[in-house]
């Protein structure tokens, strides 16, 4: 078990959810213009911003009483972005994808294919934001993942 394998397993799970576009097991931080090839490669599917990224905001390790092992708790943050497009009712589309991601986490394999012991229930914060001057829908899905080392 490791954070790398947990993030990779989450990326795989995200990619299987209907409506999810590009996926990454880490947070992309490309700052260039949206018409650059690098931007398209990092964030876009079919030339539209639609990206889901896995990162973490905290790592806490604690000894397990009576054992020679440690319990490691990762605070995971999944970031989802979709370009705003009123004509395509992008808000409704995005809400559906957020539901799909959360339901998959709530009902799917909690060991992430053996990458962790278990994970907690996801909490999603949904808002509007910007990515390189582009208006986007933004979802931040947070939950804890536990592994034993």
């Amino acid at each position: 078990m490791s954070w790398g394998s947990i993030a990779a397993a989450l990326k795989t799970r995200l990619a299987a959810v209907s409506g999810v576009g590009k996926t990454h097991s880490f947070q992309r931080v490309f700052k260039g213009s949206s018409d650059q090839t690098e931007f398209q490669s990092a964030y876009c599917k079919d030339r539209l911003i639609n990206v889901w990224m896995v990162t973490r905001t905290k790592r806490v390790s604690s000894p397990i009483p009576g054992e020679s092992k440690r319990r490691v708790r990762h605070s995971v943050l999944i970031l989802g972005l979709l370009k705003q497009d009123d004509a395509r009712t992008s808000d409704a589309t995005f809400e559906g994808v957020v539901d799909g991601v959360c339901v998959d986490l709530e009902t799917g394999d909690r060991t992430l294919g053996g990458a962790c012991v278990t994970h907690g229930q996801p909490e999603a914060a949904i808002s509007l934001g910007k990515l390189s001057e582009q208006d986007v829908h933004l979802a931040q899905i947070a939950f804890d993942v536990e592994e034993v080392l």
Partner: protein, 152 residues
């Protein structure tokens, strides 16, 4: 744990272990740590069912012209995952039954016991996993065991 209590504890685990195949234990051993029970296992998915033996105390009584008598208290802690109370009671009854079938087996007698028997069976409240997954709930059960050893 005293020099006399340790061989009794080891003999207890060795004697009981082959009789508990039906419980499919992931772990059965003497717990030499000082960490308190009941305690949540490191990984309930792989560590349960687990059976840990703790040695708690040994009262010494000097008997006039009859040597010394030790009253030992052991505690067997059984941890099972995602079971009902009936299932943990049944598992505890399996362990208890081994003692009731043979009060002082030869291997324990050779380790110094004169008498060994369960004195109390307890089930404790379930221990939920902090992240809330139902199938990682662990149920602890305990069998207190009394043993007497005597030195003339």
């Amino acid at each position: 744990m005293t020099d006399q209590q340790l061989p009794i504890a080891n003999a207890l685990v060795s004697w009981l272990d082959p009789q508990l195949a039906s419980l499919s234990l992931a772990e059965h051993r003497l717990d030499l740590s000082t960490a308190a029970h009941p305690r949540y296992p490191a990984n309930a998915l792989t560590d349960c069912p687990r059976l840990l033996l703790r040695a708690y105390k040994g009262d010494i009584k000097a008997l006039a012209n009859q040597g010394v008598r030790w009253d030992y208290v052991f505690s067997y802690w059984l941890y099972m995952r995602d079971v009902t109370q009936a299932q943990i009671l049944a598992a505890l009854a399996t362990i208890e039954g081994c003692f009731l079938a043979q009060f002082n087996p030869p291997s324990l007698s050779a380790a110094g016991t004169e008498y060994i028997a369960p004195v109390q069976v307890v089930t404790h409240d379930e221990m939920p996993h902090p992240l809330g997954e139902k199938r990682l709930r662990v149920y602890p059960g305990e069998i207190l065991i009394g043993a007497v050893a005597r030195k003339h």
